[in-house]
């Protein structure tokens, strides 16, 4: 659709602009201010220059939590995206099954994140949880409280449980938007199931898949509540991701300066990644 130039449209955007400026720009400015100063409370601040940034960039703790977060996001994407596509391909296309599947699958998405954490904290316990009890009854040594590997498995399993439905719903929406004519053409050509997937379904899901990857990457990169409730970042620091580390410094230790410096670095990384994704997305869009 051809759009007309009209700078008066700014007035329609103004409310959004003011609201988001209030809740995003002012806090961000404050974070920048905090990141170059030191404080002992009571709003008394001392100039500290770039020391906090040097400290954060030189600390193993920051890099480790970032690496852990990147590994976590990578594992999440590798599991959830193919699994989501697979399930979406096998969803019913019409009939009473559709609303039932949609509603039941969307259910985990609407559970408050800390309740998701609580559910899995209970579910994985070896004394009262179904999963933990079953595993230990089968003779598998599973204990997410003490064993870092088990903690990782639990957190990943929880995220797959929580968010795969989002990928499924996105892919499903992409699939149902394919006109029947495409399938009929493929039928006349006698195309195999794989060919239909490769040459009709996958290209049509391109856009929603990109959005699924973007959302899952971003949300897993800033995950906080669920692993915090289940493991509290432990055992040790083995499941301490960036947001958990940040909240520990900011709220737990109330170190405004280092927390602010870390926030800025974290935010810059997110900004870079979302710019890359957004550019790729709009470029793909423009090419059709």
């Amino acid at each position: 659709m051809e759009k007309t130039w009209n700078n008066k449209a700014w007035f329609m955007v103004l409310p959004v602009l003011l609201l988001v400026a209030f809740s995003a720009v002012i806090p961000l400015m404050t974070v920048v201010n905090y990141s170059v100063q030191d404080t002992f409370g009571n709003n008394v601040f001392f100039w500290n220059g770039s020391d906090w940034y040097t400290e954060i960039l030189g600390s193993d703790r920051f890099w480790l939590s970032m690496v852990r977060n990147l590994i976590f996001s990578a594992i999440i994407l590798v599991i959830e995206i193919p699994l989501g596509i697979f399930i979406a391909l096998n969803m019913p296309k019409k009939g009473w099954g559709v609303p039932v599947c949609l509603v039941l699958m969307a259910l985990p998405l609407l559970i408050p994140w800390n309740v998701v954490g609580t559910i899995w904290q209970v579910f994985g316990r070896i004394d009262i949880g179904l999963l933990g009890y079953t595993l230990s009854a089968l003779g598998i040594d599973y204990n997410y409280v003490n064993d870092p590997t088990d903690a990782w498995v639990t957190v990943i399993l929880m995220d797959v449980w929580h968010w795969t439905s989002l990928v499924v719903l996105l892919c499903y929406a992409g699939l149902v938007s394919i006109p029947d004519a495409y399938y009929q053409a493929a039928k006349i050509d006698g195309a195999s199931r794989w060919a239909i997937f490769r040459y009709i379904q996958l290209p049509k899901m391109n856009r929603v898949l990109l959005i699924a990857v973007l959302l899952r990457f971003m949300d897993s990169f800033m995950i906080y509540t669920e692993p915090f409730v289940v493991t509290g970042g432990g055992p040790g620091n083995s499941t301490t991701f960036m947001s958990i580390d940040l909240v520990k410094i900011a709220v737990g230790q109330f170190d405004l300066g280092p927390a602010a410096a870390m926030s800025i670095i974290y935010f810059l990384i997110v900004l870079l990644l979302s710019w890359v994704f957004y550019t790729v997305m709009t470029t793909v869009d423009a090419e059709g």
């Binding site: 960039l57 810059l268 870079l272």
Partner: protein
């Protein structure tokens, strides 16, 4: 309204004023010659001058961080490098 909680300092205030001036400058430039001079540069997709400003600013932020992490606390050199980088971005991207 009390603003002490925001803990303003001169350098950060200058920083944000600079950004604001840059944005106003870009708006004025855009008003004077609309369209944003879109072209396909070395990144092989279309960018406007607004995109180039964003890439320069974000890149400069990472140049400063890298300088702090790898070289040392003297950020004037990082600033100089950022300006060179920004000029490069506006010229070639």
């Amino acid at each position: 309204m009390n603003l002490t909680w925001m803990a303003w300092t001169l350098p950060t205030a200058l920083f944000f004023i600079t950004i604001l001036v840059l944005l106003c400058g870009m708006a004025a430039w855009e008003y004077a010659s609309p369209g944003g001079n879109p072209r396909v540069g070395i990144l092989r997709f279309e960018t406007t001058r607004g995109d180039r400003l964003f890439v320069s600013l974000l890149g400069s932020a990472f140049i400063h961080l890298a300088w702090l992490g790898l070289v040392g606390p003297n950020l004037w050199w990082a600033l100089a490098l950022s300006v060179v980088y920004a000029v490069g971005v506006f010229r070639y991207v």
